[in-house]
């Protein structure tokens, strides 16, 4: 695996992965066969007065250098897991290590090897963009000459070099997101945690963010990214963990997760229901057609019609006519149909019995 040691020369603007593996703080062996980037075992978190566990015994490993996607709906336990891994939440039980450092036993050492980009803007509003980067680095003990050089490089890389002296309040959401990533990279973390990074970003800002994540991965930084966006998880992640109700439901590459879903194809139907129509009986009518495995109504609040995802055996096209017939018979009208390969969203629906959004 290319850990990018040679990429660390001045021309490379992406800060390379660092970690205890090559330092003297933690003697964990040579660079290429050190500990996993993240190790989590039997992690349980119950908040005071909560009726049940927010995390109910989660275990997984993140390999060094990979982009690891954490996929789940709001309240699934993603942020709690990231909170524990970044030393901000104490677990009720279980073990968690980042770059070989136990985050519960030695949070101070853990904070040196991890970087966090939170959901909400937490930039220092009293400081300029550049000062935000520089002071962050000084908190982490980055020598002065190095932090000056790195700040300029990162401002350039993240498209912020034209206004280094502006205050965070004067920038857009996408720019603030970039500042927070640049800031997190100032101390060259071994593992970078991005918590719901594209929430609230416009499409252009989102693409920029995705590009940067790809660049970081190429430079060897391990990235753990939480999202409830299927596309984001599928596009960026080497492996995806699906989490719901505090339990890890699946963990694999996006392709393997989808493959494991049987070889079904899908028909996505948009239906204008007739008066008095009942989605439950339509669903069972569709499901009873020969060759159809099952039909699933997708939750889509704000949508006046219905969306059904129909899982069929073999090719989907021959099923369009019979499906349309059943819909018409129920008094509804088929307004749109799309033939699809199963994707992560299907995996999620299959695992949890409900749609993500």
């Amino acid at each position: 695996m290319d850990r990018g040691h040679d990429d660390r020369a001045g021309g490379d603007l992406v800060p390379p992965a660092s970690g205890p593996q090559s330092g003297t703080v933690l003697d964990t062996g040579p660079a290429d066969d050190g500990p996993p980037a993240v190790e989590v075992a039997g992690l349980v978190k119950r908040y005071p007065k909560a009726p049940k566990d927010s995390l109910a015994g989660v275990s997984f490993e993140v390999r060094r250098g990979e982009v690891f996607g954490f996929l789940g709906p709001n309240g699934a336990g993603k942020t709690t897991t990231i909170g524990i891994l970044t030393t901000r939440i104490r677990p009720t039980r279980g073990r968690a290590k980042v770059a070989g450092v136990d985050v519960v036993a030695d949070p101070v050492a853990a904070r040196r090897v991890l970087g966090v980009v939170p959901q909400q803007n937490n930039l220092d509003r009293s400081l300029s963009v550049r000062q935000n980067l520089l002071f962050h680095a000084s908190y982490h003990g980055v020598p002065r000459a190095r932090r000056l050089r790195l700040a300029d490089a990162l401002l350039e890389q993240f498209g912020l070099a034209d206004r280094p002296d502006g205050r965070p309040d004067d920038f857009s959401g996408g720019q603030i997101q970039r500042m927070m990533i640049a800031r997190a990279l100032m101390h060259a973390p071994a593992v970078l945690f991005l918590d719901e990074p594209s929430t609230g970003l416009d499409p252009a800002a989102r693409l920029f963010l995705w590009e940067k994540v790809v660049e970081l991965r190429q430079a060897g930084t391990t990235v753990v990214i939480t999202t409830h966006d299927m596309d984001e998880a599928a596009t960026l992640s080497d492996r995806v963990a699906i989490i719901d109700h505090g339990t890890l439901l699946a963990l694999d590459t996006p392709a393997a997760l989808v493959r494991g879903m049987t070889s079904d194809r899908t028909l996505d139907c948009t239906i204008d229901p007739g008066p008095g129509a009942d989605s439950g009986s339509l669903g069972s009518a569709l499901g009873s057609l020969e060759g159809i495995r099952h039909a699933e109504r997708l939750d889509d609040p704000g949508w006046s019609g219905w969306r059904f995802r129909i899982y069929v055996e073999g090719e989907a096209a021959p099923f369009v006519a019979p499906v349309a017939h059943v819909i018409t018979a129920s008094g509804g009208r088929l307004t749109d149909v799309r033939l699809g390969e199963p994707n992560l969203e299907d995996v999620f629906i299959h695992l949890t019995g409900r749609a993500l959004r």
């Binding site: 660390r8 660092s18 090559s22 937490n122 400081l127 908190y139 020598p143 190095r146």
Partner: protein
């Protein structure tokens, strides 16, 4: 020679491996981090120093002027009242500035701006972030208290002062600044943000007027209940301590008692405040 250390930190081509570069600093890490955070606070305050000065001068200036000058000249306060008032106002400036310098920023940083997160994620113990807040607030408070001296001379013409007790005055003032900052730590972490206005009104006014800054505590013996209430206010021991050191002719609580009680209060308030801070910072 200054040439030797310079290349160690300033040479552009220091080791490129960031892990090694950071690890070299490991034994000093938490201290360096704490100092870096303090440097940030000093940097931000330094930039707004005139505004900060105006902020801390205004209230004591008016108190001194109205109580020490106007009331005395009009004959409503006896001459010599400034002997009572001045040390008390130095205590008030120290305690109150300390309190406001921790409480307000903490409420804002924990609830609205989340700014404190970057420091909570820095490589130092969470409690050290609270200590830094208190130390920095106490520094501001000491400036506010120091400013009282020229202001006092300007308004009153002269202030009670004894060269022999100068060092003890400094120590007592620092103690008062730390006490105020520790009280602010408790307020800033325990009070929910939607209650901060009410809490400030309910806490600050009694604190200001039961802290023996405008009256000598021993002379309250015939308003017993108020004397008891005043005895509970930590500021009383700072006011009385400074009074004993600066104007020993005025009735005052014995200085050593003031030091012991103030230190005791400081320890208790810091323990409670740190616990609140850590509870707030960690989920």
């Amino acid at each position: 020679m200054t040439a030797t250390p310079v290349p160690a930190t300033e040479v552009p081509d220091e080791p490129e491996d960031p892990a090694v570069a950071l690890a070299d600093l490991a034994p000093w890490g938490p201290w360096r981090t704490g100092l870096a955070i303090l440097r940030r606070d000093l940097f931000v305050t330094g930039r707004e120093f005139p505004i900060f000065l105006a902020q801390v001068i205004l209230q004591p200036l008016f108190l001194l002027f109205v109580f020490g000058k106007v009331l005395t000249e009009l004959g409503y306060a006896r001459p010599g009242y400034e002997q009572v008032l001045f040390p008390g106002l130095v205590a008030l400036a120290a305690v109150l500035t300390g309190l406001q310098s921790t409480a307000l920023p903490l409420v804002i940083e924990f609830s609205y701006s989340n700014e404190i997160e970057d420091r909570l994620l820095a490589p130092l113990p969470i409690g050290a972030v609270a200590v830094e807040k208190v130390v920095f607030a106490a520094m501001r408070a000491c400036v506010a208290a120091a400013v009282m001296f020229p202001v006092g001379i300007w308004i009153l013409g002269s202030i009670p002062w004894q060269a022999s007790t100068a060092a003890a005055v400094v120590v007592m003032t620092v103690l008062g600044a730390l006490l105020g900052a520790a009280m602010g730590l408790i307020l800033g972490t325990f009070v929910p943000p939607n209650r901060i206005n009410v809490t400030f009104a309910l806490v600050l006014t009694p604190l200001i007027f039961t802290g023996s800054s405008q009256y000598p505590w021993p002379s309250l013996s015939h308003i017993r209940w108020f004397q008891v209430v005043s005895a509970l206010n930590p500021m009383t021991y700072v006011s009385e301590g400074l009074r004993g050191l600066m104007a020993p002719g005025v009735p005052h609580i014995q200085t050593w008692i003031c030091f012991v009680v103030a230190i005791g209060y400081l320890v208790v308030l810091m323990v409670v405040g740190m616990a609140g801070f850590i509870r707030r910072a960690l989920g």
